[in-house]
Amino acid sequence: MLEIRNICKTFNAGTINEKVALSNVSITLNDGDFCTVIGGNGAGKSTIMNAVAGVWPIDSGMILVDGTDVSGLSEYQRAPFFGRVFQDPRTGTAGDMQIDENLALAARRGQRRTLRWGVTRKEQEKYKEYLKTLDLGLEDRLTAKVGLLSGGQRQALTLIMATMKKPKVLLLDEHTAALDPKTASKVLAATDRIVEENRLTTLMVTHNMRDAIQHGNRLIMMNEGKVALDISGEAKKKLTVEDLLHKFEEVTGGSFANDRMLLS
């Protein structure tokens, strides 16, 4: 269970660039919740993800994982609780290392890094099995450098890395936004399957309203650093793109036309 309690974050406080990115945001995800997050450009979606992951300390508030406050832990210390996939396919992997080396790094998340060999034969076999489930042919390229892979392959690999240790919460920040539509839907399908199989609690940011509606059991709309809309259960199932557009115009008080939120 993830509880975000009244968190606030202001960037560059006290300067002319001061920006209140999150003001008193509270979100509670129950075990197994799959929550999609939408909102305009600069609404604070990535900031929420970064706050939870601990990229920087929040100004105030608490972040609890299964009842334990993790907001005082640094990014690497709380990494064992979270699996993350980023918008830029290059961010989630080490391009100059092999596929199996990347997976081995992820397999040791939350463990002490010892002087044992970095990748064992046995785990290579295991990784082949994981990669087969992606159906991208990566299982035959275990020792290829990740930098040689396409964006979609890298995101799929990052997804495996984020989930192989069964995180308490999976954080996906527009992880298909940089991919072409066909690849994006493949990666989304893999996401659905992995989340389902492992019953992962998931927070997924997307700029695609249709994806936000079709995936998950809950939907949050952010606006100006606040939660503007929180829909779950039957209401979420009945939601249409038109409903969302309407709501979006309502909360932003304007038209969506010049915004990045797309219908595609």
């Binding site: 979270f82 989630g92 290392m97 081995a104 998340r109 010892t114 044992r116 970095g118």
Partner: protein
């Protein structure tokens, strides 16, 4: 001109060659240290100029105090680890940018080395100790064999260490610190470890060199970062050319040492041509600048505004010509 050429003695060059190789093998260890920080950690570490002299100073002073010449090298290594630790703390705990953190340690090591030695240089007490790495022509064969063995051992250790879980985490930190933290790696700790390892090797190399040349000097490390980079780069260019795609990590490390040997052979050759020794650093800097610039310029040639402008101007001129011919 003729007088100059007749003054060059091929036998002298032949006699100087083994010494050049020995120096290359010794500096190769320092180049492996630079490789660790510069290539693996992606950190331009300026500490090395100071830690190289530190290794020499510690070795010679301990020998003057009656310590065994092989034990003192472990002390050099340890002193280098400490130097790296300082730079690492300045950078990670105190937020000082990488280059500046290294320069600060380097500058303070200048004073520290002077304090260790009591003056600018100290000679190895050759009457009371028999060093293992000697430039004495009678034992040069032994020195060559010994340095080669040391180099092989060090390459093996680095290869093993960077292949371990800990070493993989260091490599990942150098390649993608964001991803590393997301995978639970303490990137600050990894940076400190790599800086320690790198400077430990550099100081060890300084210790061995002081035995080889028979003294330590507070300035012996000056410009060594550039020599280390030269070795790394010469090695890489050579490895690309000879091995290409099949280049693996052991070969990368080995070619760094080969780069150092080539550097010293060129050094010996240029000295033999009666090039003033004081100008060697200028020459080295030019070589390193040239090699670092080559990949950039290559990319520029394919990918530049001015190039595009020229190509398009040519195309327009051609189509204009074609139009005229058509008329």
């Amino acid at each position: 001109m003729a007088a100059y050429f007749s003054s060059l003695n091929p036998i002298a060059l032949w006699n100087a060659a083994p010494g050049g190789i020995a120096q290359g093998l010794i500096w190769g260890i320092m180049a492996l240290g630079v490789y660790t920080t510069f290539r693996v950690l992606n950190f331009a570490d300026m500490t090395v100029d100071g830690s190289f002299s530190l290794g020499g100073a510690v070795a010679v002073m301990l020998m003057l105090n009656g310590f065994n010449p092989s034990i003192v090298l472990f002390a050099s290594l340890g002193a280098g680890l400490l130097a790296g630790l300082i730079t690492g703390i300045l950078h990670t705990k105190l937020g000082i940018p990488d280059i500046l953190a290294g320069i600060l340690t380097q500058i303070s090591l200048y004073s520290i080395n002077l304090n260790i030695m009591g003056k600018a240089n100290q000679a190895v007490p050759i009457n009371s100790v028999r060093v293992f790495f000697t430039s004495n022509i009678r034992y040069l064969g032994q020195t060559l064999a010994l340095t080669l063995v040391v180099d092989v051992i060090i390459v093996s250790i680095i290869y093993w260490f960077l292949g371990t879980e800990l070493g993989s985490s260091i490599r990942a930190t150098g390649i993608n610190p964001d991803m590393s933290r997301a995978q639970g790696i303490d990137t600050n700790k990894m940076k400190i470890l790599a800086l320690m390892l790198g400077n430990g090797l550099v100081a060890l190399s300084g210790g061995i060199l002081s035995e080889y040349q028979g003294f330590a000097d507070v300035k012996m490390g000056q410009g060594s970062i550039v020599i280390g980079l030269a070795a790394v780069i010469i090695g890489e260019v050579l490895a690309e050319a000879l091995v290409g795609k099949r280049l693996n990590f052991v070969m990368r490390l080995s070619f760094t040492i080969i780069g150092a040997i080539i550097y010293y052979m060129v050094y010996v050759f240029v000295l033999w041509l009666k090039f003033p020794a004081d100008d060697m650093k200028l020459l080295t800097a030019i070589v390193v600048a040239a090699f670092l610039a080559v990949p950039y310029l290559k990319e520029k040639r394919v990918n530049s505004f001015s190039g595009l402008q020229k190509r398009n101007a040519r195309l327009q001129a051609e189509s204009l010509n074609n139009d005229k011919e058509a008329e």
